[in-house]
Symmetry: C3
Subunit: 351 residues, 3 copies
């Protein structure tokens, strides 16, 4: 029987106009009880909470089409990540990317972690998790933000409107990664910067001053790994970092990094911030001990007020119930203008 | 071939760093045509509309990791549940919980129905659906709300930032359930309460006065089931309820409950509300007849204005097309200060 | 072992109270780089981006229950479709429908494309994609919008709160389709219409003046197809259109349509807009060439200011990497009061 047009549309809708691909659903639910100085005991999290959809299609000749969409949410309240009043992060805050993978490497379009941020997570003792006890979003980037011209409360380590490129692994050792973002305005709030309240440097919904980009290189050989990375954001803040890790025995990973942020383009005082970080991950039976110590030092050479140095010491422990599920405890002490003590206990489940 | 760091990250992303678990996608689409006194004929719903993701991982020794994330939405407009202007419910309004299940029972963290609310649905003739013809959100809780300090329009029967515990079934008869919520502020609007417009009892984004908790106990034996439940919310409103059900024959379930709310902590007049409810579910072939009658009686002993008593009579019919799909009709008469007649006709599909 | 009530609820939650249905997850990720007159080079899209969930349940005797929920999102920023500040489209912007399919045709309830809009996409050279180079949202509907009384930024070609009916294919040739929407208010902003700023014709959150409906008929026979469609929206704007397509050889599809919009109910000047459109799709090996030309002509007989005529010429090329993935380029020139040139290059991946 022939089908007319809407009938075909309905069949397409319900029977599938092309073969069903194997979409993989994955995610993380991480919830725990935490206490920090000066607040009530809370239900919180150690890691990002994710619900994602991804797939790969083999196009032949080594070419693959890949996509990934990742929802981020808060399990304690059920909202999408960081929702507070009118401000909320995108539905696919984790990433929304599509691209091709082949002998030439991987090219993707959309939104995701910058090359810098994606590389540096492997040299951070909390595995790049945005845990209070971890270092990823503050000391490991010397307080830098990748996306200053987005909505208030937005992610600090992603580019929107971007092209992402990763080389293949070269000579079994090296890989290079680059992210470049288009100069599109993205609903930023007013940022005074070097201006005044009456004439801010960046009015609301400003187009980027410059093409933001992010570069990283990694080298891996036996127990050694190292990286160097550089990033410049849409308001011309610059960040560079070098780091390395070493495994003296298989169960122990030592790591360290140094980073420097330059905010000269958007601040009149103290534009330079330096930070360094040492960490260790030690596997003991079904457990993993995490340890980190680091400092973030503002440049107090120009103007007042002087900014406080930050010193952070953290220790954590994961107890693996399976390859997908673990319980954890974290304790952290962070000294800056004020001192923050933080404790948490929770469960981390991947699916 | 060895892989360097971002290459490994990309592989992890697209190949899966751990075995794919069997995430179950489930949900409900319920849409119908309804008419109530004084409004136009509308496309509405009888039940909550859900799109959920859940999973269970066997950890060995009887221990399991469980999670569940449940989107709620409105099929007539495609929005997430209860979106009206700037106010919308969380993406995972249904629930967002993770936990462990074992010989000790079930412990979960996150957001979900309180112990009271989860227990009482089994003693409500519309199976706890928030149907206009049903009793779940009004008479069965004597008008009580579990979460008064959340955003406007939020759910009335859930705790955020909570720990949920259910015992195993004891002696094949008894089960006990408890929910405790952390004292976190959750973006409530101003609530005048015992204060004044100038000095409201609960300003915006108030931290809870007290640790909100919810307790329930059930007993089941042959055709008999009974429960008792108690809950105190974050502004110290108290609710208790007892109820029972009985099946004289297998196709007939009779049920009843009594509940009392005490709002003395936040109202100057008429703090007590009592309600009772009788219901029946009768299976006839592929059909199910639902019937309910109940009253809600405000305490008019203190102050004015006197509040009207509510009397609600409802009848419904489900016609099962399969174990997952049925058509329904509902008719309801609710008399209070004004009288509401309600009729609906629709389809309910589980997937 | 018998289970008590909450235990049963927990089992239902984690073990499934009914057999798991085969929910199909599907979607599109389309992202590219585009440049239009007067703006910066951007990361954009050619097609809608979708993440959907659909299913069909066989009820026996040729009867089926069907549902479909479709998220729409922007891959360049990760947000749900068209989010700008406080305005965003529904989570399930694509559609949220449930219904029954049988010998009588298909009946669905919820939100989705109107009969008119669903039919006309088959006669548009960009396959109804909302590409800048395409004609679907402007010339093919003579500038008409299906849903003027929804939130700002809402979809222009859907009905919310609607009943959708499609006949089966009759005599292997004909199909008729109808959509009727309930007269529910849906949070529209103030629309001045024939009123004044002080007394707008449509205040905020206005209930529809009339029952909006949409009708279409299609006929398909060998290489020929034709349609006629009529729609009247909630503010009594009327649109009709006729169109046809013809395949002289299998690799070539020619198409054309004529449409007329009448806005007399809501505008004092120039209520009539006429438009016509010619297009071609030509398959060459793994490629598809798209071409279109059309004009939109406002009625300048009444009042001032005179409105400009629109002339649009577009050409596109798809290169299929597989049945699910293609690369594309588009170029378009649209002349009206100003001239817009548009170029894009991207990847389109279905999953």
């Amino acid at each position: 029987m022939k089908k007319s047009l809407v009938a075909l549309a309905l069949m397409g809708v319900f029977a599938g106009a092309y073969a069903q691909s194997s979409v993989t659903i994955y995610g993380t639910v991480d919830a725990g009880i935490s206490k920090r100085t000066g607040t009530t005991t809370m239900v919180g999290k150690r890691d990002n909470n994710k619900l994602g959809f991804k797939g790969v299609e083999d196009l032949g000749s080594g070419l693959k089409a890949i996509f990934q969409l990742e929802i981020r949410y808060e399990p304690d309240t059920g909202t999408i990540e960081n929702t507070s009043g009118a401000n909320s992060r995108p539905l696919f805050q984790g990433q929304s990317r599509v691209g091709l993978q082949g002998d030439f490497g991987t090219v993707r379009l959309g939104r995701g972690l910058t090359a810098f941020q994606e590389t540096s997570t492997a040299f951070e003792p909390w595995s790049g998790m945005p845990a209070i006890a971890g270092y990823q979003t503050d000391l490991q980037v010397a307080g830098y933000t990748s996306d200053p011209l987005s909505q208030l409360g937005n992610s600090n380590n992603r580019f929107s409107n971007a092209v992402f490129y990763n080389t293949p692994v070269i000579a079994d050792i090296f890989q290079f990664n680059a992210t470049v973002s288009a100069k599109e305005a993205n609903n930023n709030p007013v940022i005074i910067g070097k201006g005044t309240a009456a004439a801010p440097q960046f009015p609301a919904n400003t187009a980027p001053l410059t093409t933001a980009y992010s570069l990283s290189a990694t080298a891996t050989s036996g127990p050694f790994a190292a990286y160097a990375a550089y990033e410049k954001n849409a308001i011309e803040t610059k960040l560079w970092s070098v780091g390395a890790s070493f495994k003296p025995v298989n169960d122990l990973k030592l790591m360290g990094s140094y980073q420097k942020q330059d905010q000269a383009s958007s601040t009149l005082i103290n534009p330079i911030t330096k930070a360094w970080l040492l960490g260790a991950n030690y596997t003991v039976g079904a457990g993993l001990v995490r340890f980190g110590y680091g400092q973030k030092t503002p440049d107090n050479s120009l103007g007042n007020p002087a900014l406080a140095k930050t010193k952070q010491t953290s220790v954590g422990y994961d107890y693996n119930l399976s390859a997908r599920t673990y319980l954890y405890v974290d304790a952290s002490n962070k000294k800056a203008a004020t001192t923050l003590n933080f404790y948490s206990l929770g469960i981390h489940h991947n699916f």
